[in-house]
């Protein structure tokens, strides 16, 4: 004779928070992970050290405005000038967003929740985009706040609000482009070290070849072709979009960008390619 015991397990009949909530939770968790919050002290060192390095030019700019009444770095060229630091941040932190989940094969655990693979990818991309945006936007905002407080030009001249807002908008575009590509590349390998090396290799490949290609084309009197060489580097590509949209001075050592909306179209296409590659990669990874 058998008997089924009711051992007192209770059903959950509280409110169900749904997919939106779990996607938001995953986004926040990934964003905290990028800065090492909620992890060991050792994984906080790298992101915060890079963040402090990004703040240094802002502090110098404010000091210059206050002491010698001169503008330091213009808003429009901030991201281009600091590109090495942003690239290192992207390379060192984007594998921490995607690699552990692939390495420890916990993707099925995420997918057993109401979250779908597209929402998982979207959460990761949003987290990386926000992190990169913060990296560029916080120093910019600091400079702007300093400018408002110091009021260098006197009350008659308005502050450079337009330049500041343009730089912020472009920083968001840059963050999205870098996040899409950084995550797509580092999701190809479950190993963190290899992911870091791949991302930085691609960045260096694009940035180190630009001066060589530019110098060659310029010396062959092909100024128009030479202008396109700058677009090989993502930072200059997005700066070209800024020049086209907001008419800011180009932040290149010599020459200029190709005129017209071409850089903006290339940027949008590249973002789509990066996101598409990421989606395809995860569709495959989830099937395993």
């Amino acid at each position: 004779m058998s008997e089924i015991y009711d051992i007192g397990y209770r059903h959950y009949d509280g409110p169900r928070l749904g997919r939106g909530y779990s996607t938001r939770a995953l986004t926040l968790h990934s964003l905290r992970g990028i800065f090492g919050l909620g992890r060991t002290a050792r994984s906080k060192i790298m992101p915060f050290a890079l963040f402090v390095i990004m703040l240094l030019p802002a502090v110098v700019s404010i000091a210059m405005m206050a002491l010698i009444k001169q503008r330091g770095m213009p808003y429009s060229s901030f991201a281009v000038t600091m590109q090495a630091v942003v690239a290192i941040f992207l390379a060192s932190q984007s594998p921490t967003v995607v690699a552990p989940d692939l390495r420890f094969r916990v993707l099925p655990l995420y997918l057993s929740r109401p979250i779908s693979i597209m929402e998982y990818v979207a959460a990761k991309v949003v987290a990386m985009t926000v992190a990169l945006f913060l990296l560029v936007a916080v120093p910019l905002t600091l400079i702007y706040a300093g400018e408002l407080l110091i009021d260098m030009d006197g009350p008659t001249v308005p502050p450079q609000t337009k330049e500041y807002l343009a730089a912020m908008a472009v920083a968001l575009l840059l963050a999205l482009l870098l996040a899409a590509f950084g995550l797509a590349i580092s999701s190809l390998t479950p190993r963190r070290g290899l992911g870091v090396a791949s991302v930085i290799a691609l960045y260096l490949l694009s940035s180190a070849s630009v001066p060589v290609i530019y110098a060659t084309l310029a010396s062959a009197d092909n100024e128009e072709g030479a202008a396109w060489a700058w677009l090989l580097n993502p930072f200059w590509l997005v700066d070209a979009v800024q020049v086209w949209l907001f008419n800011t001075p180009a932040a290149v050592p010599e020459g200029g960008y190709p005129p017209g909306p071409a850089p903006a179209i290339i940027t949008v296409v590249l973002i789509a390619v990066g996101l598409g590659a990421l989606a395809l990669r995860y569709r495959k990874a989830a099937a395993r």
Binding site: A84, S92, S198, A201, S209, V212
Partner: protein, 238 residues
């Protein structure tokens, strides 16, 4: 030198996706050299520019990083190093073997393409091709040793290596003259300068400083890697 350990290390580095990274950069260098030739930039000045900026300045430290940390860091990450170091093989021998593997890979993937692309541009004029090939060979050996040590010492070897190669050697070296003395890239260029007699190549570091520095850095890094591996403790991830 232990041939079995060397064989396993070669297979781990060349049998996986890492080989694409090892191939990508030399192919880009040769592609740029071909492009320069097609657009009529095959003069010694642009050859020196390509070698300094791309071959020595970008490709060599990156390949050094990938090969140098790649011979040991993945094994430490996985914990499979425990199988290797529990065998009755002396730990300094393991470190030396891994160093030799990384150095040989750098010779094949960095020094040979450097020679080839310089030769494409200027043939054997002014000894540029030989100079830069020898320079990148010796600097590659030093990079292999330094990054092997870094891979044993820390789990963030790749990031720290990038910061050294990008920020210290390129940015800080550009502003602070003294920092250039302690840069493997500058030592490589000084060797290249002493072999070639091109007027476009100028270096800040004398050969009398560069060669002893390269030898000391390599020997100390390999020796210290062996010491670290002797008292090695595996720690948890993250």
């Amino acid at each position: 030198m232990n041939t079995v350990v060397a064989g396993i290390t070669y297979r781990a580095l060349l049998g996986r996706r890492r080989i694409f990274l090892l191939l990508l950069l030399p192919l880009a260098l040769i592609g740029l050299a071909v492009m320069l030739r097609l657009f009529g930039g095959d003069d010694p000045r642009s050859a020196v520019l390509l070698m300094e900026k791309f071959a020595i300045g970008t490709m060599l430290p990156l390949l050094g990083l990938i090969a140098g940390t790649g011979v040991i860091a993945p094994e430490i990450d996985d914990g499979t190093i425990i199988h290797l170091i529990s065998k009755p093989i002396s730990r300094p021998v393991i470190a030396t073997t891994k160093f030799l593997v990384a150095a040989s890979l750098l010779a094949v993937f960095a020094a040979v393409p450097t020679y080839f692309s310089a030769w494409l541009l200027v043939a054997n004029e002014e000894g540029l091709a030989v100079g830069f090939a020898v320079g990148s060979l010796f600097a590659g050996i030093a990079y292999a040793a330094v990054f092997l040590l870094l891979g044993i010492v820390t789990r963030h070897a790749v990031t720290i290596g990038i910061i050294y190669a990008l920020l210290w050697e390129t940015l800080v070296g550009g502003f602070v003259q003294g920092a250039q003395k302690f840069s493997i890239q500058q030592w490589a260029e000084s060797i290249a300068d002493s072999i070639s007699d091109s007027p476009f190549l100028q270096t800040q570091v004398t050969l009398g400083f560069a060669v002893p520095a390269l030898v000391i850095v390599t020997v100390v890094a390999v020796y210290w890697s062996g010491r670290r591996l002797r008292a090695f403790s595996l720690t948890g991830d993250e």
